[in-house]
């Protein structure tokens, strides 16, 4: 056997050490004696002097068989996930219309009062019929603009999709990314009826901060209505899960703590998960000087994650096999006109479209290849990096625009490891 190239060792509680492996995600606690053996003994000495320990290292991926390339293992997992999975993933934008005028919105330039036509809806349904894997998985993300402005389209299409899933015994799950303003109890019931049970809503802080950053198009505040709607979801808490995103930049650094406190005081933390999102200045949508850089945001995120009792598993550095939908060959984003994209950051940017749902083949294939043919395990820097399995080069959109975008754990792993082992043991 040989020790893994992806082992990290950190000081733990009571003189012990924490051993973590980024390729397998395994974590273990070592007493002083074992930590010293791991550090000082060669593989051969370990196997001879402490075969049980050597075997445990192998079982948990802290060591691998001699002759196996861990880089090949990472590449294999990445490629079979990217090209060999049986999940179809669609992000559908039923409208690019929006009722909000968020100050940092990257879709400002593409928002338009346009709703998906019946033709396009039918073409998407046909695409799902032809491409969803029988007895596989289908995941739908409803996106916008503001998708709840097109709830009737979501309702109609979801019912057709559910029927296909039923006939082909496809495991289905769906989510919606909404600003929450139109998420009344009636709307929630439509979502639940259609098994859209994960909802992402954005709230940027207290009333003053949120209303200043995320007003209606006419400038009116939205904080009160969103909270009223959130409270209305309480009665559905067994059927819904809400990701409450707090978009942060240098103007509302501490907002995520306030939102978390509010959720707890309203006793909604059993179904509402609060987390910070990083505002990015894409093109001219926002001032770069107001945004955090990766290192700054990483520290903010780590401090928040480690400050609370629950939810540490969402912050755990699990290995990735793909980065996101954009580098997954079976995933596609469809806009309201039926144009197809790899990443939802490119919605409405026609030169980045890879076709139309009515005419898919042979359109701007090079954009597709930029996303799905990148082999990060061949990158000179990344192939030597211990963070590679939990990073895979980071956000593909940023990678294409600016180059590799390292995992935020690179800035905060040590700090996380002061908290994670203790909290994971609970």
């Amino acid at each position: 056997m040989k020790k893994s190239n992806y082992n990290f060792i950190f000081p733990g509680e009571e003189g012990k050490s924490v051993l973590y492996n980024s390729r397998t995600g395994a974590m273990a606690e070592l007493d002083k004696e074992h930590a010293e053996q791991l550090e000082n003994l060669s593989e051969q000495e370990l196997e001879a002097q402490n075969p049980d320990f050597a075997s445990a290292l192998l079982t948990n991926g802290f060591a691998v068989e001699e002759g196996v390339s861990e880089l090949d293992m990472i590449r294999y997992d990445m490629l079979r996930t990217r090209f060999g999975n049986r999940s179809l993933i669609l992000t559908i934008t039923p409208t690019l219309d929006c009722n909000f005028g968020c100050k940092y919105c990257y879709e400002k330039e593409v928002v338009q009062n346009q709703y998906m036509s019946e033709d396009t809806q039918e073409a998407i349904i046909e695409y799902i019929e032809n491409n969803a894997f029988a007895e596989g998985n289908l995941h739908i993300s409803w996106y916008g603009g503001e998708p709840l402005l097109a709830l009737n389209i979501i309702d109609k299409m979801s019912k057709q999709i559910l029927q296909i899933c039923d006939e082909k015994r496809i495991e289905y799950d769906a989510e919606i990314i909404t600003n929450g303003y139109l998420l009344t109890e009636d709307a929630a019931e439509v979502l639940i009826e259609n098994k859209i049970n994960k909802i992402q809503i954005t709230l940027d802080g207290n009333k003053e901060t949120h209303d200043q950053r995320r007003p209606l198009l006419n400038g009116k505040g939205t904080y009160g209505v969103i909270w009223e709607n959130l409270r209305g979801l309480k009665k559905y808490q067994d059927k819904l899960w809400v990701a409450l995103r707090v978009n942060v930049d240098k103007n509302n650094e501490a907002a995520v703590y306030g939102v978390e406190q509010q959720v707890e005081s309203e006793k909604m933390d059993s179904f509402v998960y609060v987390y910070p999102g990083k505002v990015m200045a894409v093109g001219s949508c926002y001032k770069k000087s107001e945004c955090f850089n990766n290192a700054e945001f990483a520290i903010l995120e780590q401090k928040f994650s480690c400050s609370r009792e629950k939810g540490i598993r969402y912050s755990y550095p699990y290995p990735k096999h793909i980065v996101c939908c954009a580098d997954n060959n079976n995933a596609i984003v469809v806009d309201a006109q039926g144009f197809l994209y790899r990443c939802w950051m490119e919605i409405g940017v026609k030169e980045r479209s890879v076709g139309n749902i009515k005419e898919i083949e042979g359109k701007n294939e090079q954009v597709l290849y930029e996303y799905v043919l990148n082999d990060i395990t061949n990158n000179k820097t990344c192939k030597e990096c211990k963070y590679l399995p939990i990073c895979l080069g980071g956000c593909p959109f940023i990678r294409i625009a600016k180059g590799n975008n390292c995992t935020l754990f690179k800035y905060t792993m040590e700090q996380y490891m002061q908290y994670i082992p203790h909290k994971m043991k609970k």
């Binding site: 990083k278 990735k320 096999h321 959109f397």
Partner: protein
């Protein structure tokens, strides 16, 4: 050696979770793309 987190099962079940509000995906919960919307 006391294992706190088991090694990830290397099977395709992980693929599905990679597209949802998942702990293993850069999408959604930690996707920088959504930060500006």
């Amino acid at each position: 050696m006391k294992v706190i987190v088991n090694k990830e099962e290397r099977n395709l079940k992980n693929v599905r979770s990679a597209c949802t509000l998942s702990i293993t995906c850069e999408g959604h919960l930690c996707c920088p793309s959504l930060g500006s919307k």
